[in-house]
């Protein structure tokens, strides 16, 4: 069997006495969208932070295409082709679309000592990328990010990851606070990313959104991966919810009828 794009084995992460990850094993294949699900505190955010270089792991190994890597910072992760897109923190609202796309990797016009950005080239690439991720509205690349909708901002972040050939794009709650049309837009951007050869990890509280877009579902509970090969085409939302909570149907019904006292 082919080596997966990303393989994390026996990942442990502790914060003092709290074990956030306990021997977690996780993988993502090439050109695959993986839905990562779990209740609050299940460990999915910590797993993503470890993979994006935001927090160091306590023990365990990370392999990219079979080669062991050490991710000490987000820059390290980006250099290894792993891009994480957070809902609100990925972009600079005051900067234009083009300047955000190239932030940190701005093309320079000769002579280099003048350190002058090639803004025409940046705008041209930005225009093409916006079309590629499916933004049909005519938005100039000089538009500040602050005047875009939430869905359009996600599209810009996805476009940036695609342009810089990130092998893996991690989307953390990309559909939070978005309307129905915008959510569908973001899901279509994610599909575009996969179709152009990128792998994605999709984290969302709304399981219905996950079902619409992912190829495989992975579930975490109490710091461990408890299911890693759920095919969304062969299962139901209710079944996945049972795996997430670790409860039987009857226990879930009881919990719902008891209201928020037990699980609020």
């Amino acid at each position: 069997m082919a080596e997966p794009l990303i393989r994390m084995t026996n990942i442990r992460k502790s914060y003092g006495r709290v074990q956030a990850l306990v021997d977690a094993n996780f993988h993502v294949n090439e050109k695959e969208i993986v839905g990562l699900l779990g209740d609050n505190g299940a460990g999915k955010s910590t797993l993503i932070k470890v993979l994006s270089g935001a927090v160091p792991l306590t023990s365990g190994d990370i392999f990219i295409r079979g080669k062991k890597v050490t991710l000490r910072s987000t820059s390290d992760a980006i250099a290894h082709g792993i891009e994480t897109i957070y809902q609100d923190s990925a972009l600079v609202t005051q900067l234009s679309i083009a300047r955000n796309l190239f932030l940190g990797r701005e093309p320079i016009k000769p002579p280099r000592f003048l350190n002058r950005m090639d803004q025409e080239a940046m705008n041209a690439v930005a225009r093409d990328l916006l079309r590629e991720v499916g933004i049909t509205k005519n938005i100039p690349p000089t538009t500040p990010i602050g005047s875009l909708s939430g869905g359009e901002r996600q599209a810009v972040a996805i476009a940036r990851a695609m342009h810089f050939d990130s092998d893996l794009i991690i989307l953390d709650e990309p559909t939070n606070n978005l309307g129905v049309a915008e959510t569908q837009g973001v899901l279509s951007f994610v599909r575009s990313a996969r179709d152009s050869g990128h792998s994605c990890i999709f984290i969302a509280h709304n399981i219905h959104h996950v079902f619409q877009v992912v190829d495989r579902i992975v579930v975490m509970r109490r710091g461990k991966v408890v299911a890693d090969d759920i095919d969304p085409k062969k299962t139901t939302v209710a079944e996945v919810e049972r795996v997430i909570t670790g409860m039987s149907d009857k226990e879930i019904r009881d919990a719902i009828s008891d209201g928020p006292q037990r699980h609020g």
């Binding site: 300047r99 932030l103 940190g104």
Partner: protein
């Protein structure tokens, strides 16, 4: 969005409000007292404008990166005191004294930047502490008295920094060219260069900038050094022009400089800055200071007008920002 007319886009620019205010000031002061636009008065306004202006230009970049520097006024007083103390005591030449004063200022900027970026202390507190240290040092080494009088006439250093000449009836100081050069250079850095993109990102969303590999700390430390060196240079230019080095000079300049920058449209919270706006902000405050005296308003009432201008311009910028965010 592309269909917005040229006029609408012009009005939405942060520099538009300050430009209108400056024109109104010029018209009102000239209308009340025609001497306001006399060559002698214009020459006077320009001479001092340049010195505070140099500090405001550097402060624009620093504030765009989300920080500010309260120690600039004390450096404005300290650097000439240090330079002339070294010169008067025969330790160094005047030129070497200037070089040492600039290096000391750069080190002070480096310390400010280190405290802010490494110890994560807000720049307000760090630079307030540095203000007291620097001002205290200037007072201590001079016993609180101005340096003894001297003349730098004939020195090539004085000629290139503050040498003056007449263009028709206007008396122009060389420092005006330093100011224009600095405005063009820093305007270029902020709007055209890669460093400018990093400065705006560092102020707008430092976490996003770091995630893209931008060394936010290095950017900020560099700007603290720039701010300190420009304040030092402005102080030396002022002392050469007035032939005086008073350890108390520059008191209160930090707030006036910050006012110039925010009136011009640079965001106090960082992420957005404009050098053209700052040049307008500098002119607005200097013209106001000069104009109200010429039309007979007591000089002590100056701060009332400045406060009102700051409040009015903040309201205007806030309104423009909300319109901008709403995409209208």
């Amino acid at each position: 969005m592309e269909n917005r007319s040229y006029i609408q886009r012009l009005i939405a620019r942060p520099e538009f409000g300050p430009l209108v205010l400056l024109i109104v000031e010029l018209v009102v002061f000239w209308g009340i007292n025609p001497d306001f636009l006399s060559p002698q008065n214009i020459s006077n306004i320009l001479a001092f404008t340049v010195e505070l202006g140099l500090i405001a230009l550097a402060m624009t970049l620093l504030m765009t990166s989300g920080e500010f520097d309260l120690s600039v006024g004390s450096l404005f007083g300290f650097s000439p005191v240090l330079m002339w103390t070294l010169y008067n005591s025969g330790v160094t030449s005047l030129e070497m004294g200037l070089l040492i004063a600039l290096i000391v200022a750069a080190l002070i900027g480096l310390v400010n930047g280190w405290f802010v970026t490494q110890l994560k202390i807000p720049s307000f507190l760090v630079t307030l502490g540095m203000l007291l240290v620097v001002r205290g040092t200037a007072l201590f080494i001079t016993d609180g008295f101005p340096q003894r009088t001297w003349s730098a006439e004939g020195s090539w250093l004085a000629n290139i920094l503050v040498g003056d000449f007449y263009v028709g009836p206007f008396r122009i100081y060389a420092s005006l060219f330093w100011f224009i050069g600095a405005a063009i250079a820093l305007g270029y850095v902020l709007t055209q260069s890669r460093t400018g993109n990093w400065i705006q990102a560092a102020g707008g969303n430092p976490n996003a900038a770091r995630a893209r590999g931008v060394n936010v700390n290095r950017v900020k430390v560099g700007l603290f050094i720039l701010s300190a060196v420009m304040a030092s240079l402005a102080g030396v230019i002022s002392s050469l022009r007035t032939s005086a080095a008073n350890p108390n000079s520059g008191t209160g300049y930090e707030l006036e400089v910050i006012a110039m920058v925010v009136i011009g449209g640079t965001a106090l919270t960082g992420g957005r800055g404009t050098i053209i706006g700052t040049v307008l902000g500098i002119l607005i405050l200097r013209v106001m200071r000069n104009g109200i005296v010429l039309i007979g308003v007591p000089g002590l009432a100056y701060n009332i007008f400045i406060g009102a201008i700051i409040l009015g311009m903040m309201a205007l910028h806030s309104w423009l920002e909300r319109r901008h965010q709403a995409g209208t």
